[in-house]
Each structure stands twice: as structure tokens, then as C-alpha cells.
């Protein structure tokens, strides 16, 4: 019963891992309490998004990840 959480881009350096497993179900308060303080601080920034099950959440505080879901923490992008 777990949720895989991916730390994309610079968030992986802040967490010290590119992915971690957390107990399911996982909601927003649960996520904030289990990631490192540095990543939790980033998650509170408006430009950091969260995807669950391959979809970007319009409102990340509504996160409700179930067993088997993949949650991706998406910092500001820099393409091109």
C-alpha cells in the first residue's frame, strides 16, 4: 500500500533522492510532513506543481493519491 513520489529537476537535489515511497493514501498534509523541510518549502511556492496519475493537479492541496499512484513534484521548468 504505497505511493511513489518523484522529485523532478532541482527538487531531487534538495530531497537527496529522486524518488521515495510513502504509505497510501497520501494527501497534501501527509506529503508536506514526509518530504524534507527544503522540499516542503518549495511545495508551498505557487510555481511548483504536483501531478498525480499523470495529470497535473489544478489545485495541489486537493492531492488524494491512492495505492499504486505515482505522484510527481514539478518545480519551475526550463526548456529550450
Amino acid at each position: 500500500m504505497s505511493v511513489k513520489v518523484l522529485f523532478l529537476g532541482p527538487l531531487a537535489d534538495l530531497e537527496g533522492a529522486s524518488e521515495r515511497e510513502f504509505d497510501a493514501p497520501l494527501d497534501w498534509p501527509g506529503l508536506l510532513s514526509q518530504v524534507s523541510d527544503n522540499v516542503a518549502g518549495q511545495l508551498l511556492e505557487a510555481r511548483v506543481n504536483i501531478a498525480c496519475g499523470g495529470k497535473v493537479l489544478p489545485e495541489k492541496t486537493t492531492l488524494q493519491a491512492r495505492d499504486g499512484d505515482e505522484v510527481a513534484l514539478l518545480p519551475p521548468v526550463s526548456g529550450g
Partner: protein, 161 residues
């Protein structure tokens, strides 16, 4: 004949390996023989300072769908015959191409604007992250590249109309 084929009207790719800009554009031209105007933009790793390598990572479940949505918006907004948007991931060295965007249209203005629009969105609204390796020694140090304010304001230009 072009050695590679591109899909018409829209060809969007995330590429793990290097590509030939010349061959891609030849194929794009061949796919749109009736277009009066074709514009393209190529972004390359700047060979400046101490940069030794650039690494592009992405979030695969979102990357291609996101790029396809950007191309679809351009197709809807301008009168275009076709769009091409290719973006590299992985390890690149100075001088290598990161991104190629091309638009085919009956008239040039639509092609120029659509290319500009797609580039602005690839810079700050597609799911890529890049970091560069600088400094001396075998490994050097890796630095994440943050989006610039100009990247956001460039994209915001398209929201005014």
C-alpha cells in the same frame, strides 16, 4: 528526397539522441510542398564560459502530451499548414541542438508568430529541466538553470489578445 519523414500536419517529438537540423527541415519542407512560407528556430547549447555539458531531464508522462497541446494551440490560433516541434533530452555538449521548431503556412506572418509562440511555451510551460556542468576537473560542478523572468514575460505576451 529527404532521408527522414515527418508527420503532417503536426510532428512533435522528444528525442533521446542528437538529430540533424538540415535533414529535419528538408523533411518538413517535403511534407508541406504547398506552403508559401516556412520558418524555423533552432536552439543550441551556447558554447560560452566554462560550460562543459548540459543535461535535460523531463517527466515523461507529461512531456509529449504537453508539447502536443502547445502545437495544437498554435495550429488553432494561426492559419498553418503544419508545425514541427522537436526537443532533446539527455546529455548535450556545447554546439549541439536542443530544440527545433518549424511552421509552414501560406503566408509568412503566421509562420513567424506560430514559431515564436511555440518556443515561448517550450521555454517555460513544457516539462523540462536543465542543468549545466561548469568548472574544471573531470566532473566539474552541476548547476540547475532557473527560468528567467524574461521567459515568463515572453510567454505572457500571448495571453493579452
Amino acid at each position: 528526397m529527404a532521408r527522414i519523414a515527418v508527420n503532417a500536419p503536426v510532428d512533435v517529438r522528444v528525442l533521446e539522441n542528437g538529430f540533424s537540423v538540415g535533414e529535419a527541415l528538408a523533411a518538413f519542407n517535403a511534407a508541406h510542398p504547398d506552403s508559401g512560407g516556412i520558418t524555423s528556430f533552432v536552439g543550441t547549447v551556447r558554447p560560452d564560459g566554462e560550460v562543459k555539458a548540459l543535461e535535460l531531464t523531463h517527466y515523461e508522462p507529461l512531456t509529449l502530451p504537453g508539447m502536443e497541446e502547445i502545437a495544437a494551440q498554435a495550429m488553432e490560433r494561426w492559419s498553418l499548414d503544419g508545425m514541427l516541434a522537436w526537443h532533446r533530452v539527455g546529455m548535450l555538449t556545447p554546439g549541439q541542438s536542443i530544440v527545433l521548431v518549424a511552421a509552414a503556412a501560406r503566408h509568412r506572418r503566421a509562420a513567424f508568430e506560430a514559431t515564436d509562440f511555440v518556443m515561448d511555451h517550450l521555454k517555460s510551460a513544457a516539462w523540462f529541466w536543465k542543468r549545466e556542468q561548469r568548472g574544471t576537473g573531470a566532473d566539474g560542478a552541476w548547476h540547475w538553470i532557473s527560468p528567467r523572468d524574461a521567459d515568463y514575460s515572453d510567454r505572457a505576451r500571448w495571453e493579452k489578445e
